[in-house]
């Protein structure tokens, strides 16, 4: 009895793993189909963006903020990962509607596969980020290993947000435009290119209400200042990631059969 249960369970995992891998492959191929540079774009794009921001903001901030390139880049990788994975994750359910309305498949796998793609991009850029840190004469310490924590939490946070958004998107297509505007706003309040200590203490506190800023602050404390962030910051990051993730899981479970009516 138990053995049979374990067998069906491992089979399920194998099936889902196979499907997940094939979906990741499909999304990769589709994304870079007919582009000459292919995957190179996912590296070039943030680098060009960094270059632009560096050129534009140097005049305003570079004198006051040491290691300004690293400072900028820290914020950008976090924000771009969040922005990319949620924007692309949002449409996964609708994009795959022709499939799950005909074939019985776990619907969350579509989002997981899409997220895997943005995660791989993120890791690539993270590597380049460290190269830039070295060029910028940032001191590498063992504390860099702690970055694994926000990287994992951010992945969970992004998946959670993607689950919520993709479910909402199937009910209300308007969400796409809202989210576009929201991301723009978020970009400005995430202190990507400025320091928050020019604001009054009351306003500085407000920044910590922004989950994305928490990640950026974590990165900067480790990389730029060599400090291990406070326990509170750790708890806040972890709690928010889990909260959003389980909210997403709950929505998918609750509306699993409803999605079909809206497509």
């Amino acid at each position: 009895m138990l053995r049979q249960k374990i067998q069906t369970y491992t089979l399920k995992i194998k099936q889902n793993q196979f499907l997940f891998e094939e979906l990741v492959k499909r999304d990769f191929k589709k994304r870079y189909a007919r582009t000459a540079l292919g995957m190179l774009w996912s590296i070039l794009n943030p680098l060009l963006q960094l270059l632009i921001m560096r050129l534009v903001f140097t005049h305003f901030f570079a004198d006051r903020i040491p290691h300004y390139t690293t400072f900028l880049f820290s914020g950008m990788i976090v924000f771009n990962y969040f922005s990319e994975s949620t924007r692309e994750g949002m449409t996964t359910l609708i994009d795959n509607a022709p499939i799950f309305s005909k074939i019985n498949v776990p619907k969350y796998l579509f989002l997981f596969a899409k997220n895997a793609q943005s995660w791989i991009n993120f890791v690539l850029i993270l590597g380049i980020y460290f190269v830039f840190c070295a060029l910028d004469h940032v001191a590498f310490t063992w504390k860099f290993l702690m970055l694994i924590f926000p990287v994992v939490c951010l992945a969970v946070f992004n998946i959670g947000t993607g689950l919520v958004l993709s479910a909402l998107y199937i009910f209300f297509l308007d969400i796409k435009y809202f989210w576009g505007i929201f991301l723009q706003l978020l970009q400005y309040v995430s202190a990507l290119f400025y320091q928050i200590d020019t604001f009054s203490p009351a306003i500085q506190k407000l920044f910590y209400l922004n989950p994305i800023y928490l990640y950026i602050a974590y990165f900067r404390e480790i990389v730029l200042y060599g400090i291990i962030p406070s326990l509170t910051l750790h708890i806040a990051i972890l709690a928010e990631a889990l909260l959003v993730f389980f909210l997403g899981v709950w929505i998918y479970k609750k509306y699993n059969w409803e999605f079909l009516y809206y497509i």
Binding site: L11, R26, I99, S101, K102, I175
Partner: protein, 259 residues
């Protein structure tokens, strides 16, 4: 024990103005209280069970609830009332090209489709050549899926779904595609699967096909179960008469049996 048991199954679709409105209209209508969802019963109180090796033909005009029922059996939808029990693995061909991607090659699509149908990678590695061979697509493996003709596409779909020896095979309007030669081949393949003990559910508008292949008939009309019978010939005759307008649905005698 029956392989499939469909017990008092009713399936409701939600209809109404919720689908096409955006967020603004949704909120306005919620506030005004004019937001409403209509229920539409695609299937109502369906009862039947199938044994090993049965081949069920599901007949009925458009909108009878055939496809919805098959969706519920294959697990894409959930019955609103009642339950469906089944044993063994289901392989369903609800729509031929669903799940295929035009931007991928034939080979990639074969694997993707296999993954959708719940096979493992080892299994697909082992069966891949056989699938391609059966679909007669050996020369097209590296072609993009969009370059195939529609007949080729359905051949591939049929091959992936049928070479697996499923316990239950669900076919929705899929045998009427492909050229004559392949149709013969796929029918032979299906008979092989059925003789191997598989239970098959077939939706087809070709009554000749139903007559020659099926040993049981489920007749649906506007979501109602008109008949579930072993008497294939009588049911098909009456269905034909009904289609020609010579028979009222209430006069169907085939319904008495097995119901």
């Amino acid at each position: 024990m029956s392989i499939i048991e469909v017990h008092n199954v009713s399936i409701r679709y939600k209809k109404g103005n919720f689908k096409d409105i955006g967020l603004k209209d949704y909120i306005i209508r919620k506030i005004r209280g004019t937001y409403h969802v209509e229920d539409f019963w695609a299937d109502k109180d369906i009862n039947f069970s199938l044994e090993n090796g049965d081949m069920l033909g599901i007949i009925g005009t458009n909108g009878a609830g055939k496809s919805t029922l098959l969706k519920a059996i294959s697990g894409v939808m959930e019955p609103t009332h009642g339950y469906i029990r089944h044993e063994g693995r289901i392989s369903s061909l609800l729509e031929l090209t669903g799940g295929f991607d035009d931007a991928l090659t034939v080979r990639e699509n074969t694997f993707l489709r296999g993954a959708f149908l719940g096979y493992t990678r080892q299994f697909m590695n082992k069966k891949y050549d056989e699938i391609i061979q059966f679909a007669e697509l050996e020369e097209f493996q590296a072609h993009l899926f969009s370059q195939l003709s529609s007949g080729m596409k359905s051949r591939l779909a049929f091959s992936v779904a049928s070479l697996i020896r499923p316990d239950i095979l669900i076919l929705d309007e899929v045998l009427s595609v492909g050229d004559g030669a392949f149709r013969k081949k796929s029918e032979a393949k299906m008979m092989e699967i059925i003789r191997g003990g598989a239970t098959t559910l077939l939706v087809s508008h070709s009554l000749d096909q139903v007559r020659s292949l099926c040993n049981k008939i489920l007749w649906l009309n506007k979501g109602q179960q008109i008949a579930f019978t072993k008497n294939v010939r009588e049911a098909c005759d009456q269905y034909e008469a009904f289609l020609d307008g010579n028979l009222d649905i209430s006069e169907v005698t085939a319904r008495k049996e097995l119901n």
